[in-house]
């Protein structure tokens, strides 16, 4: 499993490392190029949200593994004023272009899971996840690899494998 990556967001340029790490992690986890692009776009939207409405915050990207799927969890936190009308912000966005469906609602629609915790005066945490279901062949290969490692573990102390 690749490592968690944390990026501070304060200026427009900070969007770049966040996008690049998100894309790289997604590809490492086996997401398609299309999904990796959608993830980079969702990250850009929440980064923009922090830059425009709060000023600064951070974005963390973390791979998760479950038996039948891999996920990329993106968490954006800030200690800004919080979102006054969460429902409206999630439904229509609150920037002038939000009406088009960009911003937070746009990010929500590109990801599989999306959760916002926001408290007035304390800040906002957005957690969003994209999942990739692992197919049968992939699971079979992993089972075989694990068995292989078990049998030959001592002969191959380097622990070969991805």
């Amino acid at each position: 499993m690749p490592n968690e990556v944390r990026v501070e967001i304060a200026r427009d340029e900070d969007m770049l490392p966040a996008r690049a790490h998100g894309r790289a992690l997604a590809l490492e986890l086996g997401f398609s190029r299309t999904d990796a692009t959608l993830i980079a776009t969702a990250i850009s939207e929440i980064a923009r949200n922090i830059i425009v409405h709060v000023g600064k915050g951070e974005i963390t990207m973390k791979p998760v593994q479950e038996e039948s799927r891999y996920g990329l969890v993106v968490t954006a936190t800030d200690s800004g004023p919080g979102i006054a009308d969460l429902e409206a912000a999630l439904e229509h966005g609150y920037a002038s272009r939000g009406g088009l469906g960009l911003g937070l609602p746009g990010a929500r629609r590109l990801m599989d899971d999306f959760d916002v915790q926001s408290e007035r005066g304390t800040g906002t945490t957005i957690t969003m996840t994209k999942w990739r279901v692992r197919d049968e062949l992939e699971l079979l290969r992993e089972r075989r690899r694990l068995l292989d490692e078990k049998h030959h573990g001592e002969q191959r102390p380097d622990g070969a494998g991805p």
Binding site: L16, L38, E45, G106, R109
Partner: protein, 269 residues
């Protein structure tokens, strides 16, 4: 919609740069251009044409053997542009699904309303209450996507009750669990999520684990005379909108039940 010439030339420049640099910076420029295209009302068809022209001009100066990598880079750039359109498109799709659900709800409510107003309901007064409750239980279940529902009215010998469950999936609630839920209804919150079920002392020991929506059927004078309860919503938990629908149906039921009672008294006089 005409395409502003400036947008076209900026797109061309950004694509040329990406084909040379192929980094996150130029991909980000693509993403920004995609957002701008949306805001400026550039259509997807225009974008495709602009991209095609820009790619063709990029390829003019490229050796034959380098063409595949240039085309691949251009494709990645075009994906960035389109991802903003994808975001918006998903929003439209979501809205269309919601609108269809609302239309369906409105049609069902109209149908139920005309059923309940049907004079024959009050003519066969002995069955009137059971019939009203059955109609309400079935409509409430369908409108909230629950697998099980029950509606009851009155007390003692006068008590009438109807249940409805999803015949297609065959899913229903264990009858003993359903009875228990009705008994403890006053202690339940109007909406109980599946996760909260496990923490509820009065429910923890039960074999099933469900989500539950409970609303009173209240008579005109304000006394609670019945109960509408729904359970086993398949996808997610009951929402505020589900609760509003259930309350609306409970009101319709109360009005029909009271009218039936009036008819009956009138006929007995």
């Amino acid at each position: 919609m005409t395409t502003p010439r400036r947008f076209r030339s900026e797109y061309e420049a950004a694509l040329h740069l990406h084909v040379v640099e192929r980094g996150e910076t130029t991909l980000r420029d693509g993403y920004e251009l995609g957002r701008r295209a949306l805001a400026e009302g550039v259509s997807a068809l225009d974008l495709a044409a602009i991209h095609h022209d820009a790619l063709a001009s990029s390829l003019e100066t490229v050796d034959r053997e380098r063409m595949p990598e240039v085309i691949a880079a251009a494709a990645a750039f075009f994906q960035e542009i389109l991802s903003a359109f994808e975001m918006v498109h998903r929003g439209y799709r979501e809205a269309a699904v919601e609108a269809a659900a609302e239309r369906r709800q409105a049609a069902m409510l109209r149908r139920l309303s005309s059923f309940l107003a049907d004079a024959s309901l009050s003519a066969r007064h002995t069955d009137a209450a059971a019939e009203v409750l059955q109609l309400v239980a079935e409509h409430a279940r369908e409108l909230t996507a629950a697998s099980y529902s029950t509606a009851s009215w009155g007390t003692g010998d006068e008590r009438a009750r109807a249940t409805s469950f999803d015949h297609e999936s065959g899913e229903t609630l264990d009858p003993s669990v359903a009875e228990h839920l009705e008994r403890i209804a006053p202690a339940l919150p109007s909406r109980l999520s599946r996760s909260r079920w496990a923490r509820e002392p009065a429910l923890r020991a039960l074999p099933a684990r469900s989500n539950v929506l409970t609303v009173p059927i209240t008579a005109l004078d304000g006394r609670q005379s019945g109960l509408l309860q729904l359970a086993e919503k398949g996808r997610g938990d009951f929402t505020e909108a589900d609760e509003a629908i259930a309350l609306h149906l409970a009101d319709m039921a109360a009005a029909a039940l009271e009218r039936a009672e009036l008819y009956r008294r009138h006929a007995n006089v």
